[in-house]
Symmetry: C3
Subunit: 446 residues, 3 copies
Amino acid sequence: MHSPVSQVTGFGVLMIVQIILLALFWLFVRYSDEALPLLEGSELGEQHVSKYPHFQDVQVMIYIGFGFLMTFLRKYGYSATGYTLCMTALVVQWCILVKGYFHMENGKINLSLESIIDADIAAAVPLISMGALLGRTTPIQLLFMALIEVVLFAINEYIALNIFSICDVGGSITVHAFGAYFGLAVSLMLRPAKDKNEPGKHEGPNYLSDIFAMVGTLFLYVYWPSFNSVLADGNGQERAILNTYLSLAAATVTTFVVSAIVSHENKLDMVHVQNSTLAGGVAIGTVCNLLVGSHGAILIGIIAGCISVLGYRYLTPRITAVTGIHDTCGVNNLHGMPALLSALASAIFASFVTKEHYKSELGQIFPAMGDVPANNNSTIILGGFERTASAQAGYQLVGIAVTLLVAIVGGILTGGVLKYTGVRKLQKDEHHQDELFWEVPEPKED
Amino acid sequence: MHSPVSQVTGFGVLMIVQIILLALFWLFVRYSDEALPLLEGSELGEQHVSKYPHFQDVQVMIYIGFGFLMTFLRKYGYSATGYTLCMTALVVQWCILVKGYFHMENGKINLSLESIIDADIAAAVPLISMGALLGRTTPIQLLFMALIEVVLFAINEYIALNIFSICDVGGSITVHAFGAYFGLAVSLMLRPAKDKNEPGKHEGPNYLSDIFAMVGTLFLYVYWPSFNSVLADGNGQERAILNTYLSLAAATVTTFVVSAIVSHENKLDMVHVQNSTLAGGVAIGTVCNLLVGSHGAILIGIIAGCISVLGYRYLTPRITAVTGIHDTCGVNNLHGMPALLSALASAIFASFVTKEHYKSELGQIFPAMGDVPANNNSTIILGGFERTASAQAGYQLVGIAVTLLVAIVGGILTGGVLKYTGVRKLQKDEHHQDELFWEVPEPKED
Amino acid sequence: MHSPVSQVTGFGVLMIVQIILLALFWLFVRYSDEALPLLEGSELGEQHVSKYPHFQDVQVMIYIGFGFLMTFLRKYGYSATGYTLCMTALVVQWCILVKGYFHMENGKINLSLESIIDADIAAAVPLISMGALLGRTTPIQLLFMALIEVVLFAINEYIALNIFSICDVGGSITVHAFGAYFGLAVSLMLRPAKDKNEPGKHEGPNYLSDIFAMVGTLFLYVYWPSFNSVLADGNGQERAILNTYLSLAAATVTTFVVSAIVSHENKLDMVHVQNSTLAGGVAIGTVCNLLVGSHGAILIGIIAGCISVLGYRYLTPRITAVTGIHDTCGVNNLHGMPALLSALASAIFASFVTKEHYKSELGQIFPAMGDVPANNNSTIILGGFERTASAQAGYQLVGIAVTLLVAIVGGILTGGVLKYTGVRKLQKDEHHQDELFWEVPEPKED
């Protein structure tokens, strides 16, 4: 039975959160210089908004890409698009504060285009976790999970990038692996009792919901080069674009092949087409601005496509059967394992890095291997600035290991909070349907 | 009964209009210098197309955003997307001529990227009005309404920006308020007889039409920062982006909260999610490049979200019951009242403007408060160029008041023309369905 | 009966193709200088990614535009979006190699942003052909057709642009005409036996598939100025944007008018709205960066809209009846005839070209009419560099004639290969449905 009271309480708390956000912005956030009026005679500069087109592409990925990718459930389209919108709107505000906290100047957070690019990228993290849980939580559970998760994400990212000084320009380690395994850990805590492990009666797609999901897939596909390259600089940005483009293409062809080979009656499976085609974007993420070569990008894409389809076909059902962990969207196959591949690839490529090849970009891509950067005074990098290539490779592996640790422990604790506190939980037969929390129009005859 | 003859007559007149447009372009329009070949040796410049990405974002908002937002009616999807396309294609040509008329040089209109940015923004005006009337007019009525409306819009905009010299970079006053109240005034004229005031039998969404509408919502949401910042310059452009981003986010969280609190059984309402989430973009429009602070943007978003949801829930049904004015998409709640809020906010913020804060941007944002601009020789600004902050605040209020006056009187007159001339009108039971004007495929069993 | 074995064989061969592509990239492709790290002290340049926003717009057109435009078939939405994705992912890799072959340096192909822009444009070619064949081939037939077609396209493009030195910045001749008539020639070879010429029983749209198709139409419409201008330079790029914008608008208004006049009961026809509105983009393509004037662009749009609607209404049924050639999407009306119009227009406008009008852009737009370009040493242009305007006009006509020849002969041969080799063919009652090659969910009652 639906309880209006708990619904109102939950959203009432959300209103309080929004007002607290307002107060924190009032106290701590100011426009950065690039968004403030200049003195008379200063030169007008628009160069700092040169990343604006990239930013808009990422916006489309977050709101339309993620939102529509999750509309594949036939009775959960309002929730997929609606909660994506609400969660992102909440998280980006929170993220500006949380990530800004690490870079305060004189007790103030500087707000610039970079802040909202970072916020959009961070919003991907709870959206990935939401994919694991899709249809099995209330909106309030999702939103509070997201608030906790973003803090842990920001801490882990700070450790990985600023202390371990790993390279991860496309965020496969800090965003995709973190989001996927955090979500799966929450899913572990919220797993149903043993005897209720069959799929929900409302779960699954219909013909049209699968086509709606392709809106999400295709926008994610098209703009993924922007996601991976938005934080890259100089010529490394173009490499990030090219490698991502090729890895996605190779993963896509591979996905169709493997899907046709392993699926029932050798028919293509829309789950694979919607998701595994994108695995190439995740798998190239960490290394997309390295000198992996076009063949390296294609090879990574091929492996990612294989792993992802085989994961959907064989691994996910097995994980659910053995551990009881549900993974509605298969985030382990789209984000988790391809991100592990990306981390592994980054260790391999890092072990071959030389000053001779990377020239002026060495210190920019691997700050711990270059000269001491002038404008990076807040960074504490382990082992100073003269790291060897093999040490860098080791740190890449430490980076993914710590990320997994923080994600899984954090996810278990967060899942525990969602499970054992008074927050309303869903019953099995309430899963995967909009009706519980949304006004749904009656089917009409005309 | 559908009358082919009147349909053909109407579209025949439209063809004549298109040919007249061709003739007027032939006579009066030439490429501006930035689109003409340069003399040998001149430097090739691409800098004038630096706003092209912004322009493309606005294009998506107009054609896909508005078009799909209106597909929420379950039997009116062809009309929503089709008439949006046709009306915009007609209006942008007309608008280049109408707005160009105010800035002719030697009897010629200069065509440049700026012209088509302006034309796209102007196209939003009749699309907003169409939202008020959706499903209750013929396509011919809509198209001719648009032709008249754009002229009145251009005149009012000229008065507001060039004579009253108000700030309105995001167009909340000149575009959103104008479009909404013009449309409502037309709706007043076309209101049904008293005894036919119940909702149309074909009105309302179904499950899938509501998801299609989210395509519109999400693209409007994502690209709204581009709409508000496309006409801003220098660092003010980045502020416009940041403020719009934050206002939208805050309005969205607020919309979900208020929707859950006020709706039936405390369920979320897709009408609110589709529309009120965007109210933050309208409400910040006029002030988005001012120094409102990130907290100011968030506060405006919160208020806009509240006003908009409460408007949908309580005010619109009441207006319809009392006055007979129908407002199919609720443009008063998405565009009208948030635009009034934006105008009010602009008066408040304008009253605190100082040269000290706005530095070199003062004369650019508030031409009447800065020095005499060198390149603005066609402008006649009331009260010269030494306006005080409180005078500017007053002019902001005069700007919205005159806009309301022109929109409402213009809408009443236009509605009268549509009602009392020989143009074909729809009967009540012809409302909100595509079948009357479109070939609709028979439902198939397979 | 569906044969899993042949399906697996086909996709197995596809896997081998992907691995061969990997090997070829490994052997022959390297990053171009603009994607390689610079020496210390060199200036970081982002200017070479200035076309990145254009590129992303083209990406949307290819994957979402083409993909969704073809979802209008009510039982073929998985195939429309899925095969578009798979074919493009395959073709872009192949195209980088094929087009790169013509511009090798020291036996290596340079990979840059330009390469993937070219690859995306080339991907449009087999997608257009796929439109002619939609629903009547297996995915394997489509993919192998695409591999052959892209080679012929690249050869023909090289002949047209580098030997005949025609202007075709928007690709109407080399992309649209080629793709359309190649596809129709394949369709000729695959035409059914005489007695099976009626429409397929699964052919045709339903209400929702027509709205999905509008997602494709509107994204193609919105981003078409980017498609036509992405390869234009300097001020010609802005002209390309302006002319394409106006031609599309005029074609759209004309489409609605003509559709209402010629359709059954004078109702609007979604086929026209989805397709003929875009004919303006094709028809302006070859001449979009010329000095056609805004009225020239509008006039071309009007003619294109007329031709296209009349083609759908009268010509296509007649062609099918007489020759047995099916054209599922009507590519002759959207791409074919408007491209012929564009070629004709290019001959007319070329015949008036003077150095006086085109100034510094003459040699850039018409290389054979300008001075010997310094950086174009690989070009063999017929008749040297002092071509007259009327000679250029003649070459434009030769360009389209040769393109038609290569496309039609190539299409007939390719169709022959698809027909007479062991590749699995579809039976008539297998047409236009996803079920044969896709897992399709059972309709659910809830």
